[in-house]
Symmetry: C2
Subunit: 203 residues, 2 copies
Amino acid sequence: MAYRKTPAEIQRLEAAREHLVACATSVVAEVGWAQASVTAVADAAGIAAGSVYQHFPSKAALAVEVFRRAAAREVAVVGEVLRGDGDPVLRLRRGVEVFARRALENRGLAHALLAAPADPKVAAERIDYRRRYHTLFAEVVHEGMAAGVFPKQNGELTAAALTGAIGEVLVDPLGGARDETATGDLIAELTAMALRCAGAPTA
Amino acid sequence: MAYRKTPAEIQRLEAAREHLVACATSVVAEVGWAQASVTAVADAAGIAAGSVYQHFPSKAALAVEVFRRAAAREVAVVGEVLRGDGDPVLRLRRGVEVFARRALENRGLAHALLAAPADPKVAAERIDYRRRYHTLFAEVVHEGMAAGVFPKQNGELTAAALTGAIGEVLVDPLGGARDETATGDLIAELTAMALRCAGAPTA
DNA sequence: GTCTATACCTAGATAGAC
DNA sequence: GTCTATCTAGGTATAGAC
């Protein structure tokens, strides 16, 4: 009887856990948190419901892990753009574009992250998630004010407003834009709105 | 055995129902939808849990009634202002002020209406609720565009964005403004942001 | 380690006494 | 009509076989 797991064992377990998280993410993106029962998730992963508890102590823990992974990805991508070099106005525009495009490409996941009813533990994560956007947007707004391209304003408030505005537009049926042209138009209007919101001079 | 209820009976039942709705609204404002069990609501109303079902066929039906009443009040008040006479810019400003002030005066209820986790039936009502704000804001934005005080834009998108922006700011801890001065500042910043968002020339 | 079967808990809903 | 006590369903979590 081994006192330590062999590397192979560890890797296999890790892989099983990853697979479970990935399948759970898909299920959540498709049916939302409320319908993503342990049974449904386990079925998707091809394991028995009870086996889920080999990898996570509770359903909530799994849900939180699913949320964190997906949220971290989105924030990283948007943050990369918002924190890049150059004109704050351009960065804000491109950040909103990236935010929107990714959300429209995976609506189910975006809805799960931004709006879908979730249990309290996940809801708490969501607050953190939105706050990370607040922080990112606030940085750009502050830099823009410092550079004189945005008027004096409460940067934190504008940042929260941007997060809420973008989320509402993307979650709304307005996101009913299906074809590529309509999506492009939606994103163009959305970025224009975001720039107005921060007070960028109208192009 | 009476084939029709007497007027007095009807009135008494109606009153009991109203009382139940009012108490349920208070409970929801205090603890949110998730914690507002039938038992908790019945306790607050001073009746037994089973008696709730004399007035509503299900918990969801009661919850929906609670939501509809409160939502209708808020939309009516804000709509009154947004649809008043005069300058669209001023109306938008005052509409946002009223929205915010009422939300900050009853944070629990505002949170329940705008953001608190709720069951699917209530969530569906919330979409309607937010859409009513969209409609109201869209009207003002369109009138402003027609009057030449707002630049050309997608009015529906701006309206959705305004709803999301205001909601996010008010629900956020940012609404941590406690004293009257801080509240006033918050509202001033919020209205300024809303006007920028619609493209009103900066004052 | 993973499965099957099941225990258990929560909360909504109902039946029958008063 | 209202209350008490109970039933039920849905879904999480666990126990024990393999």
